[in-house]
Amino acid sequence: MTTLAEYRTSRELFNNLALRELRSKYKRSFLGWAWSLVNPLANTLVYTVLFGVLFHAQPPNGGPSHLKVYALYLLCALLPWNFFQAGVMGSVGSLVGNGNLIKKTYFPRELLPASTIGAALVSHLIEMGLLLVVLLAFGDYWALEWLPMTVVLIFIITVFGLGVGLFFSVLNVYFRDIEHFLGIFFLLWLYATPVVYPTNLVSRHHFPGTHINALRILEINPMTEMASQFRATMFYGGAPDWKAVLYLAAWAFGALAVGLRVFNRMEGRLAEEL
């Protein structure tokens, strides 16, 4: 049934829904758009004090940028993480939140979670743009040549978020507490990913009675690689690990395939369940 015309109207509707998300988010607030920057800044402040000052965390050396600032090291991974979390959490609530739209109008339902991610992506790109300006000001050597790879990484994390978001958004209609579980899950996931702390701070000791240490857990977590690749191109200004990028792309498109499949299987009765 997906004709060219349907694709065109879907794209228009996607833009409109994303725009609605962006407009309504900061409407009637004093600082407006600035809020989307205040949050990561506050986060950065807290984590910098906690890890940079109290735990003396140092960004590991390497890369042509010679940057040493912990706050920037943090932001290079924290901003993508925040985008991922906000995108997934937003899209998970998008179907339940737009119940009236689903019950009274027809359009491809995927557009609701997708446009939520799209709106989060717009905020993310603005944040990353500002971060880039700051990085250029601080680094004594900075090659813009790896900037396109950052764009590729952003694309990969968007696809990953879309897959995860599609999967949980439709499940959330049937089990409304998934949203709350996910909130806790993301908190744990953040600390199981070297975002706010560098890997060199992680203990190498095996857990008692096993051959597993904390690094092993970080390794099986795809977001660990995501964080280090974002740092490789943004913070260190060098080439990403190509194998790691492929590995991340596989995760992302795998998640999208599963998410779409589950979504299509379960979307048939959305209007009744809402």
């Binding site: 065109r8 829904l17 089990f175």
Partner: protein, 400 residues
């Protein structure tokens, strides 16, 4: 032209009636199951075809499946089995302004709602002025819609939906919104669309609207298609069946009341004293009730309640108020409500006649909606707004 615009081919839609529904993961795990449900077939094996350019009505009692059918046509519901085919661009009016976001302005919402209905930004920019104009929103268009009155909200929603310029329009009971003037505008718009050869499918309880607009009608009963055919014919059968059921439902017998006397039938009498099918606005007319008293009844009072077919009361004269109370009536006879000039405006009305005692507390017989009749446009008609005329005179005094 013989190409059908809408095809429903053996469509069935099942709902699950939940006895237990665990909407959370926690409850599902604790109870060991998500739902305990029974199947309920809201639409059973329904097939019909609507040719291009036809106005097609879906009628039936509440819960008969007509709205579910419409939602299947709009793809909001996915039917369990069967096939639905629609040729051309579809616009559905299920709830007006359904996609409006309260915080956003009217302008932003027009673009959003239009996109949901399948319009491109370019098309929307072209039609924007027409949309705002038709809705009569004016300068409020840049206000957030949460500040709109419910009338403005609905008008804007309708205006967007109708300006989508669909080839197939699916409408659910939304005609009954807004004030009288806006309703008339809507009806004109529907007539225009019909004249332009658009296909319209209408779900409604208002038989007058269905009869006025639709060429053919499908009558749903308990999820199944009972009859499809010419609008007038099917509506007659449908109203006939509802009539009988209603009388039986209320009392278990066709008459309600203590039964010493009964109203046997009602008819309309024209200007020349002949039995007629319909009354004419502005012309003389009578409503005649035939009664039969099974025993002598002292001081009976006759009442006639007139309502529109939507149930809106119009008038309810009784013979006591007009000091026309006989000491005693027995056997058969008839009572006339005489009008020198019928003041009902053109439309369809329901008559509920009653016989009571002089206190009007004891009902001898009441026949709910015994007669449904039309009032026709007559030569003397000077008004078309509302249901009745005050037969006024006008005086203008300039320069005071």
């Amino acid at each position: 032209m013989s190409d059908p615009a809408v095809v429903a081919d053996h469509v069935s839609k099942k709902f699950r009636l939940f006895k237990e529904k665990n909407n959370s993961l926690k409850a599902t795990i604790m109870r060991g199951r998500r739902v305990v449900a029974e199947d309920f077939w809201a639409v059973k094996d329904v097939s019909f075809e609507v040719p291009k350019g036809e106005a097609f009505g879906l009628i039936g009692e509440n819960g008969s499946g007509k709205s579910t059918m419409l939602k299947c046509l709009t793809r909001i519901y996915r039917p369990e089995s069967g096939r639905i085919g629609i040729n051309g661009k579809v616009s559905a009016l299920l709830e007006l302004g359904a996609g409006f976001h309260p915080e956003l302005s009217g302008r932003e919402n027009v673009f959003l709602n239009g996109a949901i209905l399948g319009l491109s930004q370019k098309e929307l920019r072209q039609r924007f002025d027409a949309i705002v104009d038709f809705a009569g929103i004016g300068k409020f268009i840049d206000e957030p819609v949460k500040n709109y009155s419910s009338g403005m909200y609905v008008r804007l929603g309708f205006s967007v939906a109708i300006n989508v310029d669909p080839e197939v329009l699916l409408v659910d009971e939304v005609l009954a919104v807004g004030d009288e003037a806006f309703q008339r505008k809507c009806n004109e718009k529907f007539a225009d669309l019909k004249a332009d050869g658009k296909t319209i499918i209408l779900v409604s309880h208002a038989m007058s609207a269905v009869q006025n607009m639709c060429d053919r009608v499908a009558w749903f009963e308990h999820g199944e298609l009972k009859e499809v055919g010419d609008a007038r014919e099917v509506i007659e059968h449908y109203t006939g069946s509802v009539q009988v059921e209603r009388d039986v439902d209320e009392s278990g017998r066709p008459h309600w009341g203590s039964g010493e006397g009964q109203i046997t039938r009602a008819e309309l009498i024209g200007a020349e004293g002949e039995v007629v099918e319909r009354l004419v606005t502005g012309a003389p007319g009578r409503i005649r009730l035939h009664y039969e008293m099974h025993e002598p009844v002292a001081q009976p009072v006759f009442s006639m309640y007139l309502s529109t077919i939507n149930g809106q009361p119009v008038s309810g004269p009784n013979s006591r108020a007009y000091e026309c109370v006989p000491d005693k009536l027995d056997g058969r006879g008839y009572v006339d409500l005489c009008m020198d000039e019928v003041r009902l405006l053109p439309g369809t009305y329901d008559l509920t006649p009653l016989i009571t005692d002089i206190t009007m507390m004891k009902v001898l017989d009441q026949r709910q909606n015994l007669l449904r009749f039309d009032v026709e446009r007559g030569g003397l008609l000077r008004e078309d707004w509302g249901v009745t005329t005050l037969s006024p005179r006008w005086e203008i005094t300039p320069g005071s």
